[in-house]
Symmetry: C2
Subunit: 253 residues, 2 copies
């Protein structure tokens, strides 16, 4: 049963791109066929595979705007059982031009359901904010993962985001489920981080992953080497954490 997960949080810099990359790699390591879709004009996910983001090529922009562009024409195989639909800067013009009409926010779902999607998992990376690109991800997905940096300023927006998820479920995507809140950049020695994590678990007890992603320098370094942390630093606590997260996802298959 193919599953589509969107990784979203309007707060910036909380580990959305890092989670799509490394969870995707961990699911692929477990033998699943995995597609990653980059919907962020900054194309951090695309760059993390060493793909030149200044080259003009078919990608998520043409997938969202072209008529009947097939998945096969826009995806790039990046090794193992992992493929990626690259982003480009022209996605940014969609945020300004499209508005958030029903037609505008259902484009990705149309494109994904139009043709064959042979992947077991599709993970969608979204930009910060709650614009048309993030809306496309929420409408196209079966489940949402919300990375939450274990710091006060990052914690504040979770309630607003969950309200947006409820709104999308009520209007455009009745099957949309919350896969869970994922603590990221966690420093066990920090009292502040522990207070924030305790608060998230207290307020959302059923909706928080057991796995927490630790703060790890290797996660910031791996994109320079254009590999996931599983390859860059296989024994790093963050690599183990993304493997554990993949297990928490797989058990719901």
């Amino acid at each position: 049963m193919a599953r589509t997960l969107v990784i979203a949080n309007q707060k910036g810099g909380v580990g959305k791109t890092t989670t799509v990359l490394n969870l995707g790699a961990a699911l692929a390591e477990q033998g699943r066929n995995v597609l990653l879709i980059d919907l962020d004009p900054q194309a951090g996910l695309t760059a993390s595979f060493g793909i030149d983001t200044h080259v003009n090529r078919p990608g998520s922009y043409s997938f969202l705007t072209g008529d009947g562009v097939s998945l096969g024409r826009v995806l790039i195989h990046v090794g193992g059982t992992l493929a990626v639909v690259p982003a480009s800067l022209d996605l940014a013009s969609m945020e300004a031009r499209l508005g958030t009409s029903r037609e505008a926010v259902t484009r990705l779902r149309q494109a994904l359901t139009r043709g064959l999607n042979p992947f077991d998992y599709t993970l969608i990376d979204t930009p910060p904010g709650l614009g048309v690109l993030t809306a496309n991800g929420l409408v196209a997905a079966d489940e949402v993962i919300v990375p939450v940096q274990c710091q006060y300023l990052a914690m504040r927006g979770v309630r607003t985001l969950l309200e947006t998820v409820r709104h999308v479920r009520a209007t455009l995507n009745p099957g949309l489920k919350l896969a869970g809140l994922l603590g990221t950049m966690y420093r066990p020695e920090s009292l502040h981080a522990n207070e924030v994590l305790d608060e998230i678990r207290a307020v959302f007890p059923q909706d928080t992953f057991r796995t927490v992603i630790p703060d790890s320098e290797a996660l910031a370094e791996a994109p320079v080497a254009a590999v996931s942390i599983l390859e860059y630093a296989p024994g790093d606590p963050a690599a183990q954490a993304y493997r554990a997260l993949a297990q928490e996802i797989i058990i719901h298959e």
Copy 2:
């Protein structure tokens, strides 16, 4: 001579809000009259002063959309010589509704130049992305400060942002200057962070502040106490760094 500085970077979570808050406090500590304007619908800056962001009150949204709303009606004094124009969630609807026409992106400049602005410094916090709210900040400002997290994924977008600044200067705001790139969340023991910082200084030698903001837990904790780091942890290296940054700004008066 009154100066207006916008703190912008489309990359999320790089320290924009933290810089507006703590640079603002450091300038006020030097006896300057300082106004902070929160243009981010997530209202992190507003929350950092302990202001309830769910209460309906005049703020930056009414300042940008109301006819002739004066500064005096929207600002809140938060102690010392510091005042803030609070943000609210309805700002988010501007991103979707307004588009980026000339009329839409000059609203803040109109509002600020309409009446008296008795402040020595006006600092503008912007959301991640390059939408209409960030555009309003770039058009209204005399100078831009670009916080750059010392990590690879955060470094990639600087060239795009500087192109946007050049474009705004050429079309809407001929006086817009780059005050500088500001390294943030810097960990001196990290080889990766040093490589990124060296790269930024090599590529933009004339445009990088000497001051670098260190990675400091106290910066993430201070907003919970609703004070700046100068009050929360006056001896912390990050407090010293924001004081040093204020000096680098003041010498150009």
